[in-house]
């Protein structure tokens, strides 16, 4: 197929050929190819345009470090993903790949004019140039900059694929399945305990796959990898490939992103593993650095390690005439390998005298070695065509023709996960690198990520980290193993006018960094943000250390004296799908339903969300809107009888000899005087004296209370109760049990409520003498034992029937039939709110806003001020809490009979710019024959009978301030 394919490549299946399209051109490759390897196999190096200057770019790396070749990938409807690294995405038949950040085409991009205008867009240009006029930022500058300098377009339709999450626990988690990680996992498996080994690559082996001539324990590297996999699988090690450890959290909770399939469909596409590990062995290797010199970014210029990866994994030669620029040893291996695969290779070493045996090995392989030279420039518009080399930047140069230029600027150990674990990094002069330092987490780094250099050292280091005895470590024999020998980071010399790129993804040049230093930025964190170096999605994998070296040189400091920026999760770009997992659609948040939910659905209810609960808001009949349905439901309750599902009310059973004393301390009212069989409305305050919750409390026995809370407050009230019980009053002999879901509650209310119950209830005398308002009785309905509370939230005679939840439906059906027979029907929360507001009953969270005292809402008499203590008592004694000018609950009636809006401001017509309060509830009322509102108004009770105004969009509306109890002020209807 292509002239750039060799006979090698352990990742690809040569027996099959598949194809995809790249910007409309059909490209062939083999299963196992990445987009990048397939393109390179076809001689295509131009894969993208750079972020800021729109310069033509090819791949820099061969893996996760890739900053240039970001592409959009489409695998069918809804399966479009932008910003994918071409070096990581395996090709699938028929997939569509598009390049990014170019217009109209990759080869002819009008944005490239930025490259010529670069003098006007230096580091930090957007902070300087686009300041004025201020109003232009949001509407003009920012959108234009975003379009010109950006990543790919966002997807537009819902992702059709499945994502999953799973928790896992192990004694040892090994991150990275290169030589050190494999050795560590083998040793840990021998030692016993659960072991998880993950690697972001398509298969295990890591950099070992690029060392085909090495032998371990007498096997070639490839065979040893196969043997290691078998041993690990036999030992029960959970082996996760295509899996990136992207977050290292506290308590050794490491989050992994597993790419299960690229195809999607019925299979899980990506799975997030939350791994809680006893200890973590980090063996994530190191990443090669580019060399900083002018025009070091043309397509065809890449890392030496990338060329090695493409050769050994995919059987792809990145060029026929290759120049390698190096300043240390590891590039020699790559040079020999590339020459062996048929390329003409020239190796340019900055050092005057590299080790003699390396030169001999090169000569034997036919590699030309030029010592004491560095690259100083390149040529070639859409692909490198020649490189200028010279003994020094300003010395006489000569041109070497080439179709690929490889850079070997040294290796940067990956300390990301170590840093995320809370570990410090320390500069190691011998390695010329930042290495893992101290950490509090139970983790250890092994292999090249902690500065180990040779294959033998890495295997031994991993083996020991995994708990193995050093003497029995896998033994490596690799005569050409030159290791990842130390190289000083490259501080590109000052003075070059052409662009020498440091951060390829964000288009940051050496000049930008020097400019920032000249402008006074000294802290590495400031330099990073001002220049944007290291802030792209590659997190500066290839650029941080070079940028640091340049900044240090410009400031006349050492590298360790200048410092390193912090590493944050995610280690690698991670999809929202992975992080979302199951949590979408029906599983986004639980939807809680009551035992009678199906009956409400059948009755055509329109539901509203109350916290996680679905509550029936109203039951429209054909042709009715919410107002019409609610008006009908209100009339039904006021004139006949209504049935309401009140199951969501919080319920807590408080039991113990000190239950009454406990409730006396917790609630503002006095519960100890409550007789058995009776109920009392009570307010719970916070310690600051403001209303926290309310509810009816019934005394079932001397030592047993049934406490109700608001629907939304059920969980928090129980928490507050437990908190006080355990920490403030541990001497009280009392226990709490949530019974919210034990009981389903059918509320029956209206003038015919008693008649309805009389036909249903066995064992209870319903006469007002025997069962008065605010009392509780136990009886049976349809044979089921029930607790009946005679309470009212509507102002009419009312009963709340508490039924054990599993028997809810037969009881509900019996009650519903009786209600219907009595000429009544179902009502929803909307009608309930209107009915209670007509009576001036508050809703906590509606009339109260966390700053209302009992007296503010007219419930001062609910406070038993003579009790020695209760939660909030001392706060209520503060002068400000007794100020007569506090906001107080009143009702407002509009002079023009218009309906006010909730939240609108109440004002004095004489000075309408100052707010006197706000409207807290507002409804049309069929009972009153007019709309009305409840409001919290400063000194409201002293203003009863006066006229104020409410500010509306149409202007002030005159209102009469009246008492909040608009319906049945005498309470006569509570006992009909």
């Amino acid at each position: 197929m292509s002239v750039f394919r060799t006979a090698g490549g352990d990742a690809i299946d040569r027996s099959r050929t598949i194809s995809f399209s790249f910007d409309g051109t059909r490209i062939e490759g083999h299963p196992g190819d990445t987009i990048a390897s397939a393109l390179l196999a076809n001689g295509v190096h131009l894969m993208g345009r750079s972020f800021k200057y729109h310069r033509p770019r090819g791949v820099l790396g061969a893996g996760t470090e890739e900053p240039n070749a970001l592409v959009g990938v489409t695998r069918g409807p809804g399966r479009f993903e932008p910003n994918q690294r071409a070096t990581l995405v395996p090709i699938t038949d028929g997939m569509v790949v598009e390049s990014q950040n170019r217009s109209p085409s990759l080869a002819r991009d009008i944005g490239a004019v930025n490259d010529l205008l670069s003098a006007f867009i230096p580091a930090g240009f957007y902070y300087k140039t686009f300041m004025w006029p201020r109003s232009f930022w949001a509407k003009v500058y920012e959108p234009v900059i975003r379009r010109a300098a950006g990543l790919g377009r966002p997807p537009e339709v819902t992702d059709p694929d499945r994502y999953a999450q799973r928790w896992a626990h192990c004694e040892t988690l090994v991150v990275g399945a290169g030589p050190a990680g494999l050795a560590a996992a083998l040793a840990a498996a021998d030692a016993g305990g659960r072991v998880i080994l993950c690697d972001e690559g398509e298969t295990i082996g890591g950099r070992l796959r690029d060392m085909p001539r090495a032998t371990i324990d007498g096997l070639t590297a490839g065979k040893w990898i196969v043997q290691a996999r078998t041993r690990l699988e036999n030992a029960g090690v959970r082996l996760l490939t295509r899996t990136t450890a992207y977050h290292y959290g506290i308590g050794n909770l490491v989050t992994l992103a597993q790419r299960c399939t690229d195809a999607g469909g019925a299979r899980t596409r990506e799975r997030q593993w939350m791994v809680r590990a006893g200890r973590v062995i980090i063996a994530i290797g190191s990443i090669e650095r580019p060399i900083v010199f002018p025009n070091n970014d043309r397509p065809g210029v890449m890392l030496a390690s990338a060329a090695a990866g493409f050769l050994h994994r995919y059987g792809v030669l990145v060029g026929r005439h290759i120049v390698i620029a190096t300043q240390h040893d590891s590039a020699y291996r790559t040079a020999i390998d590339l020459a062996g695969a048929g390329a003409a290779v020239t190796l340019v070493d900055r050092r005057a005298r590299p080790a003699a045996d390396l030169g001999e090995a090169c000569s034997a392989a036919g590699v030309t070695v030029i010592t004491g030279h560095i690259p100083i420039d390149t040529r070639g518009r859409l692909r490198v065509s020649k490189v200028a080399i010279a003994p020094a930047p300003d010395a006489a140069h000569r041109w070497l023709p080439c179709d690929a230029l490889l850079m070997a600027g040294g290796w940067t150990p990956s300390v990301h996960l170590h840093s995320q674990s809370g570990g410090k990094v320390a500069w190691d002069a011998q390695s010329a690198a930042f290495l893992p330092g101290t950490t509090l987490a139970a983790q250890v780094s092994a292999g090249t990520c902690r500065g180990r250099v040779t294959l033998a050292d890495c295997l031994a280091d991993g083996w020991t980290a995994g708990g193995g005895n050093g003497a029995s470590a896998p033994a490596a024999d690799d005569r050409t193993d030159t290791g990842m020998s130390p190289a000083e980071p490259d501080a590109h010399p000052e003075g070059a006018r052409r662009k020498a790129f440091v951060d390829f993804q964000n288009d940051v040049t050496a000049k930008d960094i020097r400019l920032a230093v000249r402008e006074g930025f000294r802290s590495v964190e400031h330099l990073k943000r001002y220049t944007t170096n290291g802030m792209a999605t590659d997190q500066g994998r290839t650029s941080n250390i070079n940028a640091l070296a340049i900044a240090a040189q410009a400031m006349g400091q050492t590298i360790p004296g200048t410092g390193l920026t912090t590493f944050r999760a995610p280690y690698s770009p991670t999809t929202f799908g992975t992080m979302t997992g199951f949590t979408r659609g029906r599983l986004f948040d639980p939807v809680r339903t009551t035992p009678m939910h199906a009956r409400a659905v059948a009755a055509g209810a329109v539901f509203e969300d109350v916290g996680q609960w679905k509550r029936a808001r109203f039951f429209p009949r054909p042709g009715e809107d919410m107002h019409a349905a609610t008006a009908r439901e209100c009339i039904s309750v006021r004139e006949a009888v209504g049935l309401f599902d009140a199951s969501t009310l919080g319920k807590i059973e408080v039991v113990g000899p000190d239950a009454a004393a406990f409730l006396d301390l917790l609630y503002a009212g006095r519960l100890s005087t409550l007789a058995v069989g009776r109920c009392r409305y009570a307010l719970m305050l916070r310690e600051d004296g403001f209303i926290a919750d309310d509810g009816v409390i019934a005394r079932l026995a001397t030592d047993r209370f049934h406490v109700t809370t608001t629907s939304g407050g059920a969980a928090s009230v129980l928490n507050v109760m437990e908190d006080f019980r355990q920490t403030e009053w541990p001497d009280l002999r009392v226990w709490l049990t949530s019974t919210t879901e034990q009981w389903a509650v059918a509320g029956v209310t209206g003038p015919r409520a008693r008649n309805v119950l009389a036909a249903l209830v066995e064992g209870v005398d319903l006469s007002s003498d025997a069962f008065p308002h605010m009392a509780v009785r136990q009886g049976r309905i349809a044979g089921v034992p029930v607790r009946i509370f005679r309470v009212s939230f509507t102002g009419e005679t009312g009963y709340e029937i508490n039924v054990p939840a599993r028997h809810a439906l037969p009881v509900w059906d019996a009650v519903a039939a009786a209600v219907a027979a009595a000429g009544g029907g179902l009502y929803g929360t909307e009608a309930a709110h209107v009915l209670r507001a007509e009576k001036g009953y508050i809703i906590v969270g509606q009339e109260t806003d966390g700053t209302a005292t009992p007296d503010d809402v007219g419930l001062g008499k609910m406070v038993a001020a003579t009790k020695p203590d209760f939660v909030g008592k001392r706060s209520l004694m503060r002068a400000a809490m007794r100020d007569p000018d506090r906001k107080q609950l009143v009702a407002l009636l509009t002079a023009d009979r218009s309906l006010l809006d909730e939240g609108t401001q109440v004002v004095d017509p004489a000075s309408p710019r100052q707010s006197l309060g706000h409207v807290s509830s507002t409804y049309p009322s069929v009972t009153l024959g007019r709309p009305f509102a409840l409001a919290m108004v400063h000194g409201g009770r002293s203003l009863l009978g006066t006229k104020l105004a409410v500010a509306t969009a149409a202007g002030p509306v005159a209102v009469d301030v009246v008492d909040p109890v608009l319906y049945d002020p005498s309470g006569a209807r509570l006992d009909v």
């Binding site: 499945r162 999953a164 999450q165 799973r166 928790w167 896992a168 626990h169 299960c260 019925a266 299979r267 899980t268 799975r271 939350m274 809680r276 199951f582 949590t583 029906r586 599983l587 948040d589 639980p590 939807v591 809680r592 339903t593 009551t594 035992p595 609960w613 059973e653 039991v655 113990g656 000899p657 002999r733 009392v734 226990w735 049990t737 949530s738 019974t739 919210t740 879901e741 034990q742 009981w743 054990p804 939840a805 599993r806 028997h807």
Partner: protein, 172 residues
């Protein structure tokens, strides 16, 4: 008898039968007296359960035992505690939650889709409150698998999540 929710090879999730559940609170120092009332020994090891005469007692917090037993025995068991001479709280919560029984080789993996606990740390009889997805559940390792119970209003969510986890486990 029990309704099947899902199967995955030899693994299944099905509705637990209706049972009586009585939540007993009492002082840990009264454990012997409480045991005498229950008719069998209540565990003094946290997050463990004991059994006797058809009932189980799950020791869920220092002063809390959940008594689980046959529906028909509910009244008798409650009556034993009603007039006890020691201080305690007994509340019938038989209707509060619903249970799901998970059995088979992938039962642990089904739970691992939503439960952050290391299930291997719970030996047979072990029990604990934990999370399944966003919902508080009670996990109880029984002889033949797991019993997971949760407040009944969350049932649709729990079943949906179990099915989603099963689909993931079925995915290669």
């Amino acid at each position: 008898m029990s309704d099947l929710i899902l199967t995955l090879g030899d693994t299944s999730a099905s509705r637990a039968p209706d049972e009586a559940q009585l939540l007993l609170h009492g002082h840990p120092r009264d454990r012997a007296a409480l045991s005498a009332l229950a008719g069998f020994d209540l565990s003094d090891t946290m997050l463990a359960s004991t059994a006797g005469s058809g009932w189980h007692a799950l020791h869920l917090s220092p002063d809390e035992w959940l008594l689980v037993g046959p529906n028909g025995g509910r009244g008798d068991m409650a009556a034993r505690f009603a007039e006890a001479p020691i201080v305690l709280s007994l509340v019938d919560i038989s209707d509060r939650s619903v249970g799901i029984d998970l059995t088979g080789p992938l039962a642990d993996d089904l739970l691992a889709g939503g439960c952050p606990l290391d299930l291997a740390t719970l030996s047979p009889g072990g029990c604990t409150r934990t999370l399944f997805g966003k919902v508080t559940v009670l996990l109880w390792r029984r002889d033949d698998g797991w019993r997971m119970s949760h407040a009944r209003s969350y049932d649709a969510y729990v079943v949906d999540l179990l099915c989603a986890v099963a689909e993931d486990l079925a995915s290669p």
